[in-house]
Amino acid sequence: MSGGLAISPDRDRGPDLAAWIDACLRGDKRATARLISMVERRDPGASTILERIYPHTGKAYTIGITGPPGAGKSTLVDRLVNEFCKDRFSVGVIAVDPTSPFSGGALLGDRVRMTPGSRGRDCFFRSMSAGDAVGGLGPATQDVARVLEANGRQIVLIETVGVGQSELDVAQATDTVLVVLTPESGDTVQMMKAGLLEIADIFAVNKADRLGADSLALALAGMLDRKPRAAGAWRPPVCTTSASLGNGTRTVYDSIWRHHHHLRDTGELEQRRRSRLEKELRRKVEEELKRVLWDELVQTEKMSAWVEAVRKREVDPQRMARRIVTERLEAKIHRRTRMTRTKKEDHAGD
């Protein structure tokens, strides 16, 4: 163990945590990496971290990159990072890859596409495994993005796992969504289907040096133009790119900025972020309720008796569940009101 901040991974809590957070806010990469790990694995310190850094977040612009496996998401991310860094932005990247449902392990291969030796890039790249989340992101992606922002990253790129048609969490986590497709992605009917294509703010038809790129771009444009749209509303541009050759990536970059300006000028950015926070808050309430329910309210030791009642067909599962929850909630509320009442009476006696 060295001096300074080097502490073993399982002992870096308590008073040290504050030092790690301060270091992260000052721009220290090692502290940031460590905090990300803690947030990612929902370490006991995670809630303290998120609480402390929250005031320092909310300003970074977040961009989601999604699309089928092998479409060229990582390669495009690498090019975009270059462009952002050229314009002197500090960039954070979160690249999510799938976790093995069998071993729990993961092979995170997005870093392979990063240009080696691109010195002078002000970029923090973090690979993440999706765990058992099914929406294309990891369970803590949003929180990890906040840690990166607290570290001073002005732009945060979030690359999803390779998705099919309906892993759309990224739309709920980012300001601009870039959907990357390839000439092999399908015909006009595929383009008309619900899901992935509906969340795009920008399309990149990558590997455009291959046959069929133009007809795919045309099919996409057709789909987009058939959609009724209010005057002045954003119409997702379709860019053709060959990310590995660096062709067309500048157009994607410019489109991101155009979309950003559009959102900002129409007030949609604030609106989107607000509704995102509302969704997050609702989700957190549900999580909290679930935790309180199982940890404090429901006496799980009675579970086998309840199951037995259901098994004997004395009561159906739906009614049983309702009975358990209402009974426990009522008991809890009664206890609360009784307690406050006695407190008040105590005060009255003073």
């Binding site: 090692r30 929902r42 729990g104 392990g105 030796g117």
Partner: protein
């Protein structure tokens, strides 16, 4: 949630004998580790990746004869970044005396020469970070 062992794996320098590193990476994944695969990288990028990824282990594959120059540099850069807790493992083809020297004087935690059973690599790695093997 327990933290999975995170391994940053790279081919050292310009060496293109990829089969071995692919094989090991896949085995580590199957043994429940999170493998951040870098492909070909030089020591600077490997150390930077270990930093950003909060790695427990750096795994280097080298079959091209430059192990005595590049591997010690990785160890040195990790130390400069305050990452002395990161264990450096190596695999590849080299003279056995080089392997001994890397371990004894250059701070490489362990070198695995050809014909090492995969299970040996996995158990060494779990042991080196002092964590029980991940059970799915």
């Amino acid at each position: 949630m327990t933290r999975k062992v995170r391994v940053v794996m790279a081919k050292l320098g310009l060496d293109i004998h990829w089969r071995g590193v692919y094989l090991v990476a896949q085995f580590l994944k199957d043994a429940g580790m999170e493998v951040v695969f870098l492909g070909n990288q030089f020591p600077e990028q490997i150390a930077e990746a270990a930093l950003e990824e909060d790695a427990d282990i750096v795994g280097l594959s080298c079959l091209s004869g430059n192990h005595m120059t590049l591997a010690p540099k990785v160890v040195r850069l990790l130390r400069e970044k305050g990452l002395e807790r990161v264990k450096v493992f190596m695999g590849g083809v080299m003279a056995p005396e080089d392997a001994v020297e890397l371990e004894r004087t250059h701070g490489v935690h362990k070198v695995f020469l050809p014909d090492t059973p995969m299970e040996t690599i996995v158990s060494h790695m779990y042991e080196s970070v002092g964590r029980p093997r991940h059970q799915p």
